[in-house]
Amino acid sequence: MIFMKERTLLKLYELMYRSRFMEETITRLWNDGHIYGEMHLGIGEEAIIAGVLSHLIPGDAIATDHRGTPPFVMRGVDLEALLLEILGHPKGLCLGMGGHMHLFSQELLLTSSGIVGSSGPSAVGFALAAKYRKTNNIAVAFFGEGSMNQGMLLESLNLAAAMSLPVLFVCKDNNWAITTQSSEVTGGVLLDRVRGFGIEAREIDGSDVTTVWQAVETAIPRMRKSTKSPYFIQANCTHNEGHFLGDPLLRFHRAPRKEFGAVTGPLMKSVLQYKGGRIDKRIRSVTKVLSLIAKSRMQLSDSKDPLLRFEKDNRDLEDQFTQIKSSIQSETNLLVERIMGIIQEEGVL
């Protein structure tokens, strides 16, 4: 156990809560129809992101996946520009071109991508540039456990190991990839896989920010030294909005009557078609899908919520937490008011 100063704890809480409140705000804007398309949140991942980012120094690069908002918030991107971007506004961070899945900040060396696994090669390249320039900077790749089956990410692990590059690979493991339980489509054990490349790897509880902070605290100094090497962290987490807002499996739990009505008709008709597979196989398939829907409910639980966990573990800081929360809330609410004012004035986005 490494001692953590109160200041560090409060800083971690502030990072996590700023991101959380921003994404709760985004949820509201999305629900109100101000944001088009998909919306993947990092709610539930805040401890992992905060625990890693609080160790980064200027010049370190971060490659994120489709859940880029928390790292962008926590790395200090201008929040007005960020929110405008997520709304698709021409004055946004990327002039409305990117949206939440394609956020970029050249200044802060932050990238994101909607292509699963692509943060691997991206981080390797930034690490290569850092080593080439003989700086002590590192690069971080954030990705989900589902991405660990994507070729380019596995190739990146090998590349970073073979070329001794300072890449911190951070696997945010919620065991879900859209509607697939990753354990059902993954051979072997991820940590064994990574160690097979000669990379040091460990699994931690990603809902506990102090655990993440401490793990990275030990990993990073070695990565910054002249003998560069990659490091891998597998951190567990839960997304209580499922894959994205409006998650089709979670809808069954939230509006069961509507969903079951739409699905069961065609489903039963298919089971009872004259032509098709053997009846026992059909029934087994349907049972499996129904049990998957049942299992998806576990995502709704807040038992792994990193903020609740942190508040519970640090009851002595309750007053400070309340203060941090209320100042972030009023700052963010003012920001939203201003932005929605701009949007309303302009008539359209």
Binding site: G96, T180, T186, L245, G277, V286, L292
Partner: protein, 338 residues
Amino acid sequence: MRTMEFAEAIESALKQAMSENPDIFLLGEDLHTLRVNLLAQFGKERVQSTPISESAFLGAGVSAAMAGLRPIVEIMLVDFIGVAADALLNHAAKVHAFSGGKWSVPLVVRASCGGGYGDGGQHEQSLWGWLAHIPGINVVVPSNPADAGNLLLSAIEADHPVIYLEHKLLADYWLDYMGTGGRENVTFDIPEAGAKGEVPNKWQPLPIGEAKILREGSDLTMISLGVSVHRCIEAAAILTNEDISTEIIDLRWVSPLDTSCIINSVSKTHRVIVVDEDYLRFGLSGEIAAIVAEEINSKFQFGRVCTDFTIPFNRNLEDNILPNVNRILDVARAFTYE
């Protein structure tokens, strides 16, 4: 005749094909949910969910087809084919030629495509021109439910690789997942005739590479496919009021391209606009210009309405980058008519 939605038609045609041929099976991510009705009817050997390993399972689809099966490999969004391009480019497309025509690859790749719902430039591309560029692969893009079912059978029955692209503005479940997320307060410009329509009682494969003339006309030929076909229909109706008579060709197939249909029409109208949601440069529109230039000796006027930039997330910018009725009208009106 019966009426069906676009995605329902695809599923219905798949049920027919899978009932008739036990060698047909599906391979792709999240198929246990995306294709749950097929899973319920045919069981998990025929509807197999994969890890997020496109290069491996598309490559495996190629050789499973070489082994005599009839795989339908699903790439969720055609944009993601980038990570698995080698399986198509250097394998699916090449085996028949390399083997001196002795070994074929009866593979279908099914993917969703297209934009107009605010998902950004990595999820809304068309890419059919890019794919059709490769000899040895056919690419088909249906624009309505009847074609969606019939053309799927054409793709399945072909003895060579066919990429079958379903537009997300037409397929309701894709739009529900990726566009609305179950909300009722966001709307999209969904062409009604493309999303729902009459379909045959029994699905019948259509000839590979056959375009369809949707509307006859004498002054101007619009050549298009997918959702853009419906933008052309709308534009043509407006042009009628301006005394411009428009012929519309729904190509259906990017490759093989129905060159004789194109040539016949343009020989008559001498004016052609290609409306193509795919990228402007080095693609379908340029190819059509080349064919017309090569084959037609008389003078003709040519214009194109395509996507000439990375598709923006901002909905207004997006709607202007993708082909739309106004852009089609601008090009049509700039032609000279005597």
